[in-house]
Structure formats: C-alpha cells, structure tokens
Symmetry: C2
Subunit: 418 residues, 2 copies
C-alpha cells in the first residue's frame, strides 16, 4: 500500500520531469516568484500547521534545539519566500554549452548542461528544507520527491501544497514538486530502490539517516554531511590570527558540519598559544576541552582526550586537542581521523601552505581561514542543496550546476564510422 | 579467507593512492613508457600464460567470439603497449585549476582537479582491459584494483605482474596496480562493500555483471554499457544519407553498445526507403529484420517484431523496425524503450533537429550521423575507460578527467565567519 503510493508519486514525478527540462528560464523564474508570494500570503495557514507539529513535538519531549529547528514564525516564512526569490534571480545552468568542438571528420560535438530528471530528497526536521529543495530543483528543471521528517509532517505538507499549487498555476507541470504523503518509514525503503523513476537521492540529516541511505540505496546517492574538521596551528603561524580562527571555527556555530572538532598544534608553539586560547574557549565560550598528554602538561585543567574523541564529530561545544611534532604528524592525524570535509592550516610558511593544500585530501582545504566558510553561499554560489562528502559527481558545497547532468549533442552531415 | 585477501590488497591500494596523487606527470609518464616496453619485452611470457587460458576456454567450450576476445597475439600485445604510450602522451588532468575566484572578503577559492583515490574495475574476458585500465588509472594518479574474468585469469595475472613491476621500478608506489589474486566470485561481493578503501567501482561487461554491481554495491558505482540505440529517419531526410547511416550504425560492429538496435521510419517515406534499405541489409549484410505491421505491409518477407524486441539490445545482426506517424511518435518510442545511450535523427529540417536534440534524453544525441561515434577516441579524448549510462558524475564516453574528482583550496589571511 505504501509502496504503491510512493511508486505512483514517483511515476508522476518522472512524467513531470520529462516536460520540466524544456521549460524556459522565464517560466521557471515566474513560478518561483509565485511560490514565494503564495508562501507569504498563506503564512497563517503555515503557522497553524506548524503549531500542530510543535504541540506534538512538545508532547514527544523533543529537545529544545530540535523544537527550535521545527518552529516556524512570520519571519521564518518570509525568509523562505525570500530564498525562492533569490533562486529566481540566479542564472539558469540548464542549456549551458560547457564545451563544443569539431572533429577532423567534420562532426561538431557539444557538451550541454541538462536537468538530471527526478531528485529524491530525504531529510530531517527543518521545514525550510522543503522550500529550499523545491526551489533549487525547479530552477534546474528537475522534479523533486520530498521525504521530510515525521516531526515536521504537517508543516511540510501544508508548505508543499502551497508551493506546488502556485507552481502549477504558473505553468509548471503537476507532479514537479511532491511531498511523500505518508510518515511510514517504509516509504524511504521504497524510494531507495526506485531506479526506474528516481535519478539521484540526496540525504540530508544526521549520520544515521545518511548511512541508511548509502548502505541500502540502489539509486545513485550524493552523500552529504559528516564533518570531523581540523585546524592545525603551525610553528610559523601568526598566533593571534590562529586564535581568532580557532575560536570562530569552533564556536560561531558548533552544531554544523563545517565546524572544527579537533585542534592540532605544533609542539614549538603549544606552550605559547594553548594557555590563552584554551582559557578563552573555556571562560568566554563555555567550550569543554579534551586534550592529549602534552596538552594537559601545558594546561592542567584540560580533560583526557580518548582515541574515540579524535574520531568524533561533536557538533557541540567540545574540542579535542593534540600537540604534534610537526606538520607531517598533523597531516597523518587528519588522514587517519578526518572525514575529508574541511581542513585548515594556519601558517606563514609558503612551502608548508603548498604541501598542506596538496597532501590533505578533503573537499575544502584552507590556509589561514576558518573552516566555517565551506558553504554554497559563502563560496558565492547563491544557493546550496547540501555539502557533498563523496568524490563522485560533486564534492563540497553543491550549488545549481551540481543538480544537473550533461548530454552530448552531435551535428553531422552524413558521417559514418570507418 | 578470500575476504581477508581482498581487504589486504585494497588497504595496500589505499596506501599507494595516498602517494600516487602527488607524483609529477613526468614520473607517471615515464612509468607508462616502462610498462609498455616491459609488455613488449615479455611478449612470450604473456602468450604462454594466454595459451593456458585459451586451452581451458576450448575445453570449457567457450564460443568462438569469446575465444577470439580472449586470444592474445604478438600484434595484440604490441597494441596494448602502444595504448600505454598513447596515454603517456596525453595531457595530465591532475592539478588543473578548473576555476578560481575571489570573494568580497578577500578569500581566494580555487577548484582543483585531483585523483579519486582507489578505483575498482570489475570486467569480463578481454585481457587488454587490464592494461588499458591500469594505464588510465595511473595517468590520473589513482590506484586500481583489477578484477578480471576467470577465463582470462592467467593472462591477466601475468600482464598485471609485468606492468606492476615495471611501474614500481620506475618510481610508482607498490600496490598502485593490483589484480585481485583469486577467481573466487566472493571477491567481487567483498569489493562491492569496501567503502573504506575503494572510492569508485566501474563494472565493464554484460548486463548481468553490471546489474549485480549496481544492485549490491555500497561503494559509488559508475554504470556503463547497455545501449538500446535508435535511428529515426524523418520524412525530410536525405534518404541516401539515411541508408548509409543505418547500415553503418547496424553493421559496422553489431556487438557493441553504440550499435543501432531499432530503426524508426516516418510513414511518409517508409515505402520509399524501406524496400531498398531492408533488402540491402538482408542481402549484403546478413541482417535479420523484425518489423511492425506497417513495415511488413511494405516489405513482406520481414519477420514479426514483438514488444520484447523493441526493448532488446540484440548486440547482433538483428534489427527491429517500426514505422511511425511523425517525430513525436519516434521520440515517445525512444523514451519508452530506449536506454538513454545514443540516439540519432536523420533530417534536413532545422526545427526538428533542434527539437530532437532537446527532447531526447540520452548521453549522446545525433543529427545526421551514425550512433557508432559514441566513443572516447571518436570524440577526440585519446582514451576511454568506458561509456557511462548514468547521470551522476559522468555521462557518455569517459576519458581521463572522468577518473578525477575535485577539491577546493581556499587561501585567506585570517578570515573568520561573522
């Protein structure tokens, strides 16, 4: 029953996708603007649906953090609407001729950007992802199947209805934007295997959700998310800059994937930088510090760091610290414990900056800047569907082009192969 | 036991990959030349190992076609060696700065091409794939785990030893080129789940092999292969050109994925083009024709085409034919039965050429040329690891850049996020 419903929705998405790919940018942008207006016009409806989710969430004793992510307000609805308007203002990647050339036999070959088709998005509590994902997929000519978390089901359902209706009224084929209409977990299992109708799956959420998708999907997946990020303070670093960057990378928003989790410090500068830095992190930012033996020898109040701590993405005001012999040990540590997301070195040494960026294998490698910049907006993409932590198709912040694929078009005048 | 052996090989590959990514093009190219020389110098050894496989193949009563693919000769060994030399002569994609820009806050962001890491190649009988794949992966700085077909095990083993030794002697880290050292099928199952050590799997071979990999792998897969390709002859086509292209697309090499399987003909020109074309295909090229009712009304000796025939990649001298009302019916037919590989229209109508290339969703869409050109060499890439039939990462012929991924390197001078 659940299976049949999901398949029926996916079929409808595939039919819509076939038409969507050939719509002009003007039609898509007009629809995005109409969706934004509809969200604002129907704010009360959305808040009413959200209050049902909030009530249920409080009864289920969801954490304060989770309830805050679930909560919608007038301002937050307006932000979602403005997000759609910002997407409308971005250039349309579909139709871009990436490269075109002529072969000696006269064949003219062009590589053209085209929509992927149907994108399945599986995500957790935030209702704003519903709007974001729908907007980004529509802009890139893809149909989207949205599977949000059950905690936000009423909010997501109302939002999806409103934007899908607005889109259809503006000339977008019905079925282009659909929320999976059940909270039954079986629906996810069905989506994972729907190779016939879904072209790409993007999971967004905690490690458990992402691993479930990666381990069980036969549909190609873009893995997002886990970031066990490091900052390495070299012995040739500007220590004031280093402190500034560490504090920013750890505390500016600790619950996100590009926040720093482990600090590595060259032993020659450890006794100079660690006392003021760790004291400040503890006293002004309430960060719990877990360090190696050498760290504790310098700052005695630090707790023991376990092997496990170095593997952990805390997503919290907890920092692991390790004093290292040199940059090589730092790079080896990152290789062993890192998740290839975002890594930074603080140094004024030219050769070390080159070696670090060359030898550290990660989506984003920084010299003298905070890891917190790994983000589609910070990179100037104007949008972000997630941060890929895999190497296939997309790596790092994914903007609009990452939601497209390519096709070759070949123009001849009778060429045959000899 | 098999599992432990495969994991040990994969670990070694991962270690090698860490160093391989930072080798200069000069070192890699020198190694490729040394591998080529070693193959030629040890031709006798290779032919001896191949004769064991050939003997076993004859005893197992493999088909003549399969035995021919398995067979190595002096010339074929020389071709493999020349293939490596050609790869050495290609530009190295690793290190290419695809794009670099500066943000308003002064951060300089660059997107750089880097190796993927470890590539697992699972393939069937041809021993030349062993050399090709090893050469392409080495050129792009990737370690490769080769899992060839059991029929070619002795040939592959000898070849892999020779090229791996030559590579190591030329400065390539040991473990960069490895053949999985068992014919046990369990080895494939182990590879499919080795996310910790293998970054990408590329299956090359029949539909059964590819589906096994796609259905069971947790490692990201690049799907290759199945091509149910169509040629549509429009009512505004140059019919001589159309006949030429159809004959080429069907008969020049019928056993490959870019060969044509179904011919679609506009009803207005069917009675003019089908009799000479189908007679020629039958009489001069020994092609079996299976047609729709309308085809049979025009050419009575044609056999019945079943629904199943239109879904089938014959890979043989068999052609399905359907007379269609117009281009829309042709496009709908391709949408329903096609595998999104290579599709062609023969027309002199400008608007139809535009609509066909826009509306047909396939890796390669042709106007007035044979589908047989979907090939890395024909596209001018100088190499080919396979033809991707998926939309993620790579689509169509895959050359050297498709064996790489990217990373962002970000240069700052103390930037933190506000």
């Amino acid at each position: 029953m659940v299976k049949e419903k999901v398949i029926a929705q996916a079929q409808k998405a595939k039919e819509a996708a076939r038409k969507l790919g050939h719509l002009s940018s003007a039609v898509k942008d007009k629809a995005l603007m109409a969706m934004a207006d509809a969200l604002e016009a129907r704010t009360d409806d959305i808040l009413e649906a959200n209050s049902i989710d909030m009530q249920a969430g409080r009864e289920k004793k969801l954490s304060t953090a989770l309830l805050d992510r679930l909560l919608l307000t007038n301002d937050r609805v307006k932000e979602m609407a403005d997000g759609l308007r910002a997407i409308a203002a971005l250039p349309d990647p579909v139709g871009e001729v990436i490269h075109m050339w002529k072969r000696p036999n006269g064949l003219q070959i062009g590589k053209i950007r085209v929509p992927v088709g149907v994108i399945g998005l599986i995500y957790e509590a935030r209702p704003n992802v519903t709007v974001d994902a729908a907007g980004l997929c529509l802009k890139t000519g893809n149909a989207v199947l949205l599977r949000g978390g059950s905690e936000a089901f009423n909010s997501n359902k109302r939002i999806a209805e409103i934007i899908a209706d607005a889109a259809t009224s503006a000339g977008i084929p019905a079925g282009a934007i659909q929320l999976i209409e059940t909270t039954d977990r079986e629906a996810v299992n069905v989506m994972l295997k729907l190779n016939e109708y879904i072209d790409i799956l993007i999971p967004r959420g905690g490690a458990g959700l992402i691993q479930t998708v990666v381990q069980n999907a036969t549909v190609p997946v873009i893995e997002t998310g886990v970031g066990n990020c490091h900052v390495y303070i070299d012995n040739e670093a500007d220590l004031d800059m280093a402190m500034n960057i560490v504090i920013n990378a750890k505390t500016q928003r600790p619950g996100v994937c590009n926040a720093m989790e482990t600090l590595l410090v060259h032993e020659e500068v450890a006794d100079k930088v660690l006392p003021p830095l760790l004291n400040k992190l503890r006293d002004e930012y309430n960060v719990e510090i877990r360090g190696c033996e050498k760290t504790k020898a310098i700052v005695p109040w630090v707790k023991d760091a376990t092997e496990e701590d170095y593997y952990t993405e805390f997503l919290d005001l907890i920092l692991a610290v390790k004093v290292v012999r040199d940059m090589d040990e730092a790079i080896d540590h990152i290789y062993k414990y890192g998740t290839k997301h975002s890594e930074a070195i603080i140094t004024n040494n030219y050769n070390k900056s080159r070696r670090f960026t060359e030898e550290v294998d990660a989506a984003a490698v920084y010299v003298n800047a905070s890891t917190r910049f790994t983000d589609g907006f910070q990179f100037g993409y104007g949008a972000e569907i997630g941060i890929s932590t895999q190497k296939l198709h997309a790596r790092g912040p994914m903007g609009l082009p990452e939601l497209t694929t390519t096709k070759y078009i070949i123009f001849g005048n009778g060429q045959v192969r000899g």
